[in-house]
């Protein structure tokens, strides 16, 4: 029996954008066990809810993560709106959908780039980030911020998109989709990429379900859970269908994200063409009294904001379950059996977002 050694992976590692530490128990070059530890960037943002007014906390919620920022703010706002019984105007729901999908687009393109980088495909990495830049430009033009949009608030949105800009976005979507499909073809059809990813980090449908996987990690294993099909914001009006793959390996998780890029472009196109007229916000009066589990689908999976108000302007408690936290148990299941050189690819395949996880 070969001797077992422990190799620390992270918290500082070239493929990791954020710090997570995994102790890898190896036999020769093969991983037999992985022991994760988190807690490097805890900021105590849940406690802050007791010191900031409930309307101000949207800005804090948005800063939990730099990639799914808009969807955190959306999830928090929806929770407060539900507790206070606020009906959001139709136009605000559509605008929220457009910005959510833009966030998903730029997050997935960022991840595709990082994933290509972890495989050693530098050219593809640069190309993905080049496409992401055009999404960030649209976000900056419509919200005033590239990654922290700051447009979602309790009761609606803070900024409208003019018809001229909507038409321009609609026109630009076709060439953008063509470029994305060229990029996606490399991820889906290139032999070298397939050779590197297929059969790596496999997790079966039952395991993914039992371990509580969410988002593309679950959908790559054939579990069709996507919170968008419950129809929050304007997804109910847009005929959304989740993207599901069945293989459960790194290639399947990559394919889910590539196809979600196409799906997001479709959703934005639909939302722009069906955009209703009207106000973008309603006046918020009173304070939240009650509790609610608010859920939304982030690029990495389902996020849950538990909010409890006691009738004062500060919430009594907030608890945020982010998708990466749910995806760490499946990751621990994926790693045994992989070679040491494949570990970065497997770790990145769940799209770890550590600042989300530790809040």
């Amino acid at each position: 029996m070969p001797e077992r050694i422990i190799v620390p992976f992270g918290p500082q590692h070239p493929v990791l954008p954020e710090p997570i530490h995994v102790d890898l128990v190896l036999e020769d070059e093969k991983v037999v066990e992985a022991i994760p530890s988190i807690g490097y960037i805890h900021r105590g943002l849940e406690q802050l809810v007791q010191k900031r007014e409930y309307t101000e906390y949207v800005y804090v919620a948005e800063r939990i993560c730099g990639i799914c920022s808009f969807i955190h703010a959306l999830c928090y706002s929806q929770g407060i709106e539900h507790i206070m019984g606020i009906e959001v105007p139709d136009r605000a729901r559509y605008l929220r959908t457009i910005w959510s999908e833009c966030s998903r687009l730029h997050s997935h393109l960022l991840w595709l780039g990082l994933f290509a980088d972890s495989m050693g495909f530098e050219n593809l990495f640069m190309r993905s980030w080049q496409l992401r830049e055009s999404v960030l430009d649209v976000l900056e033009d419509t919200t005033g911020g590239r990654v922290i949009q700051g447009t979602c608030k309790v009761g609606g949105v803070r900024r409208d998109i003019g018809q001229e800009k909507l038409d321009e976005m609609h026109r630009e979507l076709d060439p953008f989709e063509k470029q994305c499909r060229d990029l996606g073809d490399v991820f889906l059809n290139d032999e070298t990429v397939k050779y590197r990813l297929q059969g790596l980090g496999v997790i079966t449908k039952d395991e993914a379900y039992a371990l509580g996987a969410v988002g593309p990690t679950a959908r790559g294993s054939g579990v069709a859970i996507d919170h968008r099909d419950t129809g929050y914001a304007a997804y109910g009006d847009l005929g959304f269908k989740p993207v599901v793959e069945t293989a459960g390996d790194c290639y399947a998780r990559c394919a889910v994200r590539v196809k979600e890029v196409y799906a997001s472009i479709d959703l934005i196109r639909q939302a722009i063409s069906e955009m209703p007229e009207g106000p973008i916000d309603v006046k918020v009066k009173g304070t939240p009294d009650g509790e609610y589990f608010s859920r939304a689908e982030q690029p990495r999976g389902e996020v849950i904001h538990y909010l409890r108000g006691d009738g004062s302007k500060h919430l009594a408690r907030a608890r945020i379950r982010t998708p990466t936290l749910a995806n760490i148990p499946p990751l621990v299941k994926m790693l045994p059996g992989a070679q040491l050189a494949d570990v970065p690819v497997v770790v990145l395949s769940i799209d770890p977002c550590i600042s989300c996880t530790e809040r």
Binding site: G144, V186, N189, T192
Partner: protein, 137 residues
């Protein structure tokens, strides 16, 4: 052959030139609505204090007695809530980011707004008129 899937993009990129800008020779992309930094106009501020109450990160301080308005640039997150909430248009958002600094920056402004005298005169005239009406009756 599918092993050359990327070749088309590579050839196009070779012919197309760089995707990045030659900054600073070519200026960076500017967007008019970018939330860069907050600008304060001391001539129009009426010391209502809404901005400091709305600020989610307690970056703005207002001393009504001393007529001093302060902004802590290190705390400000440029969310724009104060700009939206200001009823007198004293605050505006500029698209340029605040330049990097090596020392803690707190900007202090002395509010120079002077209450115009005209509205003060009107009630006096009205009261004179009322007195006149009263006398004639």
């Amino acid at each position: 052959m599918s092993i050359f899937q990327m070749t088309k993009t590579v050839l196009r990129n070779l012919a197309g030139g760089p995707a990045t800008r030659q900054y600073p020779a070519v200026p960076a992309r500017r967007c008019p609505i970018t939330r860069g930094h907050v600008v304060f106009d001391p001539a129009t501020c009426r010391s209502c204090g809404l901005c400091s109450r709305r600020c989610p990160c307690e970056a703005i301080r207002l001393d009504k007695e001393a007529k001093v308005w302060e902004i802590d640039r290190m705390r400000c997150i440029a969310c724009g809530d104060c700009v939206e909430g200001c009823p007198f248009g004293s605050l505006t958002m500029e698209p340029d980011y605040f330049p990097p600094v090596v020392e803690h920056v707190t900007e202090r402004y002395t509010i120079t707004y002077v209450k115009p005298e005209k509205p003060a005169k009107k009630p006096v005239e009205e009261s004179v008129k009322e007195e006149g009406v009263g006398e004639s009756a």
